[in-house]
């Protein structure tokens, strides 16, 4: 059970590890009276000159959050029994078996997960479980493909969820969309994979239960190398959407200038120069490393934009 110290804002943008911080940290977590950090996750970036010698991939900004064992995660307690809860994050799971990467918790005498998200490496699937109302889960729904290809470990995936509790009932629904691992050749706008936990697949213990806090990272389960997460955001209403892949400068457009900045980041990574890291999304191929392949990917992406007439919208179809 937790005690609330802060109200969940109507539009709460919790961008974990995503700001222009000189050193990576987890100071944005732990609001609402929850423990910010459980276990020993590492907030870190892709160079060795910051606080941690280990190099951690990130999707956006300079830092990501890496767990190297089950039980390494962060928590946000700013929600308050939310009947409507929308969240969006990026995850790069490199676990074996089935690892829980996100839980939306109800704060009760005995807390329980209203829904949870796992990566099942054996099945090559993200699985979405809804509470059965008595401390366990019902049958999950799965997403096994993204952009027409199989979901694989160690690649970045965006997951956006929309939980809605039925009015005056102990039932709820969860709508899910997923996209990621688009690679160098897949540079036009792609359609997210979707699934839904329908009414009856999320059962709350009590009709007034809602999302009180969340756990994010390598929460539990599985084995293997690690789970890396980034760019978490949550709110009560209005879909959040994806960050613009290839928008290296983080100004909302993709131009040849982003290619130049991406090249600068490559040079910065080679030189272990943390200030040289860019604030946008440099991992164009979404494969967890920033290399010359990402430059080619971004040139393809900018080319596609140019061919479509110069929308500069980071991957619009021609």
């Amino acid at each position: 059970m937790i005690r609330k110290s802060q109200l969940f804002l109507a539009v709460a943008a919790l961008v974990g590890m995503n700001a222009a911080m000189a050193a990576c940290n987890t100071t944005q977590w732990g609001q609402g009276g929850v423990t910010a950090v459980v276990g020993t996750p590492i907030a870190d970036g892709p160079v060795t000159t910051d606080a941690n010698a280990a190099q951690t991939p990130r999707y956006s900004g300079k830092c990501g959050l890496a767990g190297d064992a089950a039980g390494d995660y962060v928590q946000d307690g700013s929600p308050l029994a939310e009947a409507a809860y929308i969240s969006r994050f990026y995850v790069k799971p490199n676990n074996t078996g089935e690892a829980v990467v996100f839980q939306a918790m109800a704060d009760e005498t005995v807390d329980y997960a209203i829904f949870q998200i796992t990566f099942d490496a054996t099945a090559g699937a993200f699985k979405f479980y809804g509470s059965n109302g008595s401390g366990g889960f019902g049958t999950p729904v799965s997403i096994t493909t993204a952009n027409g290809g199989a979901i694989v470990a160690n690649r970045w995936y965006l997951i956006e969820t929309n939980f809605q509790r039925g009015a005056g009932t102990n039932g709820g629904t969860l709508a899910v969309s997923l996209i990621g691992n688009r690679g160098a050749a897949n540079y036009t706008l792609t359609t997210p994979s979707t699934t839904t936990l329908t009414a009856g697949n999320i059962v709350l213990a009590d009709a007034g239960d809602g999302v009180d806090y969340v756990r994010f990272g390598w929460v539990s389960g599985g084995a293997g190398t690690g789970v890396t997460v980034d760019a978490f955001e949550s709110r009560r209403s209005t879909a959040i959407g994806s960050l613009k892949r290839g928008d290296v400068s983080n100004n909302g457009t993709c131009t040849s200038g982003d290619v130049t900045q991406l090249q600068q980041e490559l040079n910065a990574i080679s030189a272990n120069n943390e200030p040289g890291l860019k604030l946008g999304q440099t991992d164009c191929t979404e494969n967890g490393t920033v290399t010359s392949g990402d430059v080619t990917c971004l040139q393809n992406l900018v080319n596609a934009d140019t061919a479509s007439g110069g929308t500069r919208a980071c991957g619009m179809p021609i």
Binding site: T260, Q263, N300, V302
Partner: protein, 149 residues
């Protein structure tokens, strides 16, 4: 011929040429060869601050056999890019330098495109932008494509 006048005129022309400032702009020059085959040379006029650029070439209706194999063959050392045909109608080019250096001020050769068309109309460069070494949009001039008989 008035020699003095001719010399003075040429000096004036030269002075005007020195003072004219280059602008960032993609340029094309098209030459027709045998059988309707055409070769279009691609150049980039640089103001000296452009580190990267992108532009689109739209071909006349009915153009076919668009060949981009030499599209970037004459880039200055250190520069590289992607040149591709899209939907059989347009070519898009994106170029940058691996070290973030800028194009030298003045005319820079990029490469050549070839295609086949019976149209008398020239291709058009209708979309373009350039950015400086910081990734900011650089000031652009006017793109041109000239036909040489």
């Amino acid at each position: 011929m008035n020699i003095k006048f001719a010399v003075a005129a040429s000096l004036l022309f030269a002075a005007a040429g020195v003072s004219a400032k280059s602008e960032n702009a993609p340029l094309g020059m098209e030459v027709e060869t045998k059988g309707g085959s055409k070769i279009m040379s691609l150049d980039f006029e640089s103001a000296g601050d452009a580190a990267s650029f992108t532009f689109r070439v739209v071909f006349p209706e009915g153009a076919k056999q668009i060949d981009t194999s030499r599209c970037l063959s004459e880039l200055p050392k250190g520069f590289f890019g992607v040149c591709k045909v899209y939907d059989g109608k347009v070519v898009a080019v994106t170029v940058n330098n691996s070290e973030g250096a800028t194009f030298p001020a003045g005319m820079n050769r990029i490469g050549k495109l070839s295609y086949v068309s019976n149209s008398k109309a020239a291709p058009v460069i209708d979309t373009f932008e350039a950015s400086d070494r910081n990734g900011e949009i650089a000031q652009m001039g006017s793109a041109k494509v000239q036909q040489v008989d």
